[in-house]
């Protein structure tokens, strides 16, 4: 169990319709980790990654956990991919696209001479099959992301035409999602289950061997369409559940990358001569959710008071050891339309007293705080919040449940306050805003039952408006409204943390959490 | 107490001199179990040590075998065997003579054998270690020894485990084990006490006959006057850790020279005179931590006079090779023969 289990990358069920997107919003988080390039890349070597959990399945259409996604992204490539700053898309297996006047037909040109690891060349038939397969699995998989697609046609050998039901700006971002990655037509005659036992793609690496619970190994795809890449011979993900052991393995040279170091030992990880403690800007927001179905959380004053009591910098110092930044808004710095100036409530004793006095429970009350067990950061955060609220005579009992039971309690609204987190999958805010503030968005406003007509109106408008600047204005207003209504107390933005051996070059993690290994190489 | 030099017929196999055994407790007076005991056993001789419980006879035997329990030590004296003092031997030297030269038979046949090993193998252990026999030869010797103890179908019996045999059979196995290396001296610690009477008689006869065959001497500890008379030629009567009387069995039985020996006979039933009233010895044996001065039996002795409870009461030869620790022996039991 670890933090990643909770903030796993998944997507809300709401169909997304919105204006064309662009990546001009500036990013304010400190971007670290651009490793110094040490001369020309060296070919060869095996990259060993020590991780907390084993992958679950290679089926890119039905799988939601990070451990699996990070692996099959190295095998199967989509038409487009995310830029390094995670804010925009760039062509990958496609070379470009044209949009019809009514914005409902997209003509996409494919890159020529791209071969699958089996040697078969990628054509439009493969692209049509791959996208249609994803669309078919909407109820239990990622298919809902293609809900706006009417039809996919293979116009020529290297051109694909996509017809939409209605104007749909984020199409290209959707096509960049791993669930729309390109696989051989009809899975080369295998059934879906058989195919995903040893998936075939056009990516830099191809299937090696998987000893479940122990390690998973991919080997370099020598026929990769980007000549001369990948630099590595193979990549092995070892399952090492204990954080200390992962750290010792990286320091001992038995592993090159610790995929999930503990914050508590993160700084000391770097003190070792051969290991660099790297942080990458993320789209992770950790927040405290109030269940408005339970008294007294339907009272905005109570929510605002509590939000003002929480010492976010203390949490950042004690839990993230200074690596995070206090969160001021619903959106995260790594996401387009994030408004830096959103007046999110921060620690403010005067405000807390004022709001509490104006609330329905001025003398305080007793309540519970639900957290997933086995997560050291959440446990510490909960105890700090408990201590902060204690000063105002709000008695908090911490309730720990194992992650699945915790999630079940949230879904059934059987909690008072709960600690949760969210990371984005595609570079567009709507996925999170709909999940978080739209009660009919399928998740009862992230299980808070928050219902604000104004917020819902703003969010709906933002989805449909095509013009970038109007969308920006709408999202700014939305962030202000949510900051005022405080359905959540935003706690902190936590960067992604990796322990990387100094022999590993060009290792970068995008704000959406994945790390392409195409350009990674190991100096001797 | 000095030993009167007995007329020596032949070099003694075992010579115990002024042996004193006690428990050196850190607290006050330490208990003395055996005080200044001396006797000798010639080759082939069968020597008895008789006495009630707590008389120190068994402790003396264990001292000779070097098997004193933890916390009990030899405070004084020497034990010469084959000419060397076993007390000064190193454990290694001591182990080299245990088996081939000196062997022991214990009282409890039920627990004296290793419950997890077949009896044949246990008998073969000694010969293998000391006579350097191969496994097969040693096993063969064991079966032969079992046969000589009169146990039917010895080959099958050799493969049995101790718990599959009766008490009598087990004691025969013990005898076979003890005599497997033809020892010069066999120490017996009440070997037949745990057996019922009929089996006891067979075992004693077997033991005597085997010892004669092999020329082994015997040091036989028992509380049973009848057993001594049947088995041994010479004996010592012990009381409260000291020898009261020593002599040839026939002479001692016919003319005991010490009131304690006489009292012992009085308190035992007599087959020839079934009507005689048994006269139990009044009082209790003395405490071991502070023994009474003079003769330890004085407090319970019917002839006791003032001088009995003073002096060191040494063993004195009152008749030819017949010693007594009682000053009044002559007056009580008449002159020499």
């Amino acid at each position: 169990m670890n933090r990643k289990l909770v903030s796993m990358v998944t997507v809300g069920a709401l169909a997304v319709s919105g204006a064309a997107l662009s990546g001009c919003a500036s990013s304010s988080t400190k971007s670290g980790g651009a490793s110094k390039s040490a001369g020309a890349p060296v070919h060869g070597g095996n990259l060993t990654i020590a991780r907390a959990q084993d992958a679950k399945s290679m089926n890119n259409i039905l799988t939601f956990d990070n451990s699996s996604i990070f692996i099959f992204e190295q095998i199967m490539e989509p038409l487009f991919t995310v830029t390094a700053d995670g804010k925009a898309t760039k062509p990958l297996l496609a070379t470009g696209y044209k949009v019809s006047a009514d914005k409902k037909t997209y003509t996409i040109n494919l890159r020529k001479g791209v071969k699958f690891s089996t040697g078969k060349e990628m054509t439009s038939a493969d692209v049509k099959f791959s996208i249609d397969q994803d669309t078919k699995h909407a109820s239990t998989g990622w298919g809902f992301i293609n809900s706006a697609i009417q039809q996919v046609q293979a116009a020529g050998k290297y051109t694909v035409v996509i017809k939409l039901k209605h104007a749909w700006a984020p199409l290209i971002a959707d096509l960049a999602l791993f669930s729309n990655a390109i696989v051989p037509n009809n899975y080369d005659g295998k059934t879906m289950a058989e195919f995903y036992q040893a998936p075939v793609g056009t990516g830099p690496f191809k299937w090696g061997q998987w000893k479940r619970g122990e390690y998973l190994k991919l080997v370099a795809n020598t026929g990769y369409w980007q000549k001369g890449k990948p630099y590595l011979d193979s990549v092995t993900w070892n399952v090492v559940p204990d954080s200390n052991t992962r750290k010792l393995q990286v320091q001992g040279g038995q592993a090159d990358i610790d995929e999930y170091p503990d914050w508590s030992t993160f700084k000391s990880l770097g003190t070792g001569s051969n290991v660099i403690a790297k942080t990458f800007p993320s789209t992770e927001l950790d927040y405290l959710a109030f269940n408005e179905k339970k008294k007294p959380f339907q009272d905005v004053h109570v929510r605002r008071a509590i939000s003002a009591m929480i010492d976010r910098s203390a949490i950042n110092k004690a839990v993230l050891f200074g690596n995070g930044t206090p969160a001021n808004s619903l959106l995260m710095p790594g996401v387009p339309f994030y408004q830096k100036s959103t007046p999110g409530i921060m620690k403010n004793d005067a405000l807390a007293k004022k709001e509490l006095a104006a609330s329905s429970v001025p003398k305080g009350f007793s309540t519970t705080l639900l957290i997933p067990s086995g997560d050291a950061s959440k446990l510490s955060t909960a105890q700090i919040i408990q201590n902060d609220l204690q000063q105002y005579n709000i008695k908090v009992t911490i309730k720990q449940l194992d992650p699945t039971a915790n999630h079940n309690a949230q879904q059934n609204m059987q909690y008072d306050m709960g600690l949760s987190a969210w990371t984005m999958d595609i570079p567009d805010p709507d996925e999170w805003t709909s999940f978080a503030i739209d009660p009919d968005g399928g998740a009862k406003s992230a299980y808070t039952n928050y219902r604000s007509a104004e917020a819902i109106k703003l969010n709906r408008q933002a989805q449909q408006s095509v013009d970038h600047s109007t969308r920006a204005e709408l999202y700014n207003q939305l962030q202000d409204v949510v900051a005022h209504d405080a359905p959540f107390a935003f706690l902190y933005y936590a960067p992604y943390a990796y322990g990387v051996s100094d022999k590993v070059q060009n290792f970068n993690v995008t704000p959406l959490g994945n790390y392409p290994l195409t350009d990674v190489w190991k100096s001797k | 107490m000095s030993v009167v030099a007995l007329s020596r017929t032949v070099e003694p196999l075992l010579s115990v001199q002024h042996l004193t055994i006690g428990i050196p407790s850190s607290g006050g007076g330490h208990a003395t179990l055996v005080r200044d005991v001396s006797f000798e056993v010639g080759p082939g001789v069968r020597y008895g040590l008789v006495g009630e419980s707590g008389s120190g006879k068994s402790m003396t035997l264990k001292a000779i075998a070097g098997l004193l329990p933890r916390g009990v030590e030899v405070l004084e004296g020497e034990i010469h065997f084959d000419g060397d003092d076993v007390l000064t031997m190193s454990p290694h030297e001591r182990r080299r003579i245990m088996g081939p030269r000196m062997a022991m038979i214990f009282q409890e046949p039920m627990t004296a054998l290793n419950p997890t090993t077949r009896v044949g193998k246990q008998i073969a252990e000694g010969p293998r270690r000391h006579l350097g026999l191969s496994k097969a030869d040693a096993q063969e010797l064991a079966v032969d020894m079992i046969r000589r103890t009169g146990i039917p179908d010895p080959a099958r019996r050799a493969r049995a485990y101790p718990h599959e045999l009766s008490g009598g059979l087990r004691q025969r196995i013990m005898i076979a084990m003890a005599l497997s290396c033809k020892p010069a001296l066999v120490l017996c610690d009440e070997p037949t006490t745990a057996l019922d009477v009929t089996v006891q008689d067979q075992v004693l006869r077997l033991l005597a006959q085997l010892c004669d065959d092999m020329g082994s001497a015997l040091t036989f500890v028992t509380h049973d006057l009848a057993v001594v008379s049947q088995t041994c030629s010479r004996l010592s009567v012990m009381y409260a850790g000291r020898i009261m009387e020593e002599g040839n069995v026939r002479e001692v039985y016919e003319a005991p020279q010490h009131p304690y020996t006489e009292a012992l006979f009085q308190s035992a039933p007599d087959f020839d005179d079934p009507g005689r009233r048994l006269a139990p010895i009044p009082g209790l044996p003395p405490s071991l931590t502070d023994p009474p001065p003079g003769c330890p039996f004085a407090p319970r002795c019917q002839y006791a006079i003032e001088s009995c409870s003073t002096g060191s009461k040494p063993l004195v030869e009152v008749r030819h090779r017949h010693l007594s620790a009682c000053d009044l022996a002559d007056q009580i039991f008449g002159g020499t023969r």
Binding site: G252, Q254, P403, A443 | T111, T116
Partner: protein, 319 residues
């Protein structure tokens, strides 16, 4: 005297109700815990609608009793079902992970004996001596320290510090396994040795005071031959039943060690599948552990009768 050939099958028959009992209790226990596999698979950011759809698809909405009946009928055909997490027959997962845990446990028992026997001999040879008290007290530290702390300390010193051993992992060849599993087995041995040392020392003391040891001494046996031939052979008997009893528990209890040393054993599989509500995996591991515990029980009885001829199998039948 029940012959061993008849004894083993009879004891195995006894195992059937036990294994059945375990699966029954485990099945309902796992279903008792809130949250179902769909939630675990879809993760924290999935919506209730998606969870409901997957739950339906996996047939988890049927009443528990019906699901149990379904499970039993599959079991009858030797089919334990597929893991919800890995979509792979659970049996293959168990066959891959069971040898790891069994090797770890066996290895730790060997190390435990190597630690316990000499120490017990040391203590029993001079009771009441400083040596005796030391042997009684020091292993208690092993009992008191949590396994994960001992594990990480061993890693710090012997893996990172001196580099003699790898930091966790399992390796591929058999030689690798013994090298990789040394520190974990040592950690496990340290935590079970105190119990064995206490029993072994006590029974050694009893044996040393027994008459047959005096007999052995009277036959010139001493030192090593006395200890090996007579004392150890009798003193080990109570320890055998203690090891037997704990062995079964150990297989389920190696979780912490497997987590610290990154060993893909049954313990970690059990806890992972419990948290993921991967019912078939939990069933399979619970069943395997149950059968293993019974097999160990039978093995202990047979070994017991081999070591101690006085005990015959009928006595052990319903021990």
């Amino acid at each position: 005297m029940l012959s061993r050939l008849k004894f083993v099958p009879m004891r195995l028959l006894q195992a059937v109700p036990v294994a059945f009992g375990v699966t029954l209790v485990v099945f309902f226990m796992v279903h008792l815990i809130p949250g179902n596999p769909a939630e675990s698979i879809l993760g924290a950011q999935a919506t209730p609608a998606k969870v409901a759809a997957l739950t339906d698809q996996m047939g988890l909405n049927q009443p528990v009793v019906q699901q149990y009946w379904h499970f039993l009928s599959n079991l009858a055909h030797g089919n334990l079902g597929e893991s919800y997490t890995y979509q792979v027959p659970v049996l293959t997962l168990v066959w891959q992970r069971a040898p790891v845990t069994l090797l770890l446990v066996a290895y730790s028992v060997v190390l435990m004996l190597i630690i316990s026997i000499p120490l017990s001999m040391l203590a029993a040879s001079r009771p009441g001596h400083v040596r005796d008290h030391a042997v009684r007290v020091i292993p208690l530290v092993g009992l008191g320290m949590p396994q994960f702390w001992v594990g990480v300390m061993l890693l710090l010193v012997f893996a990172v510090g001196t580099g003699w051993f790898p930091v966790g992992g399992y390796g591929d060849t058999m030689m690798d396994h013994l090298w990789y599993l040394f520190l974990p087995a040592l950690t496990l041995a340290i935590s079970i040795s105190p119990v064995i040392i206490r029993s072994l020392r006590a029974s050694m003391l009893n044996v040393l005071e027994s008459d047959y040891v005096a007999t052995a001494r009277s036959k010139g046996a001493g030192g090593r031959s006395l200890f090996a031939g007579h004392v150890l052979r009798n003193a080990i008997i109570p320890a055998v039943s203690i090891v037997g009893v704990n062995l079964g528990y150990l297989v389920g209890g190696t979780l912490v060690i497997e987590k610290v040393f990154a060993i893909p054993g049954l313990g970690s599989m059990l806890i992972e599948s419990i948290f993921a509500r991967d019912f078939p995996s939990v069933q399979a591991v619970a069943l395997f552990v149950a059968v293993f515990v019974v097999l160990v029980g039978v093995l202990t009885d047979v070994v017991y009768t081999l070591l101690d001829p006085r005990v015959d199998l009928t006595q052990r039948m319903n021990a």
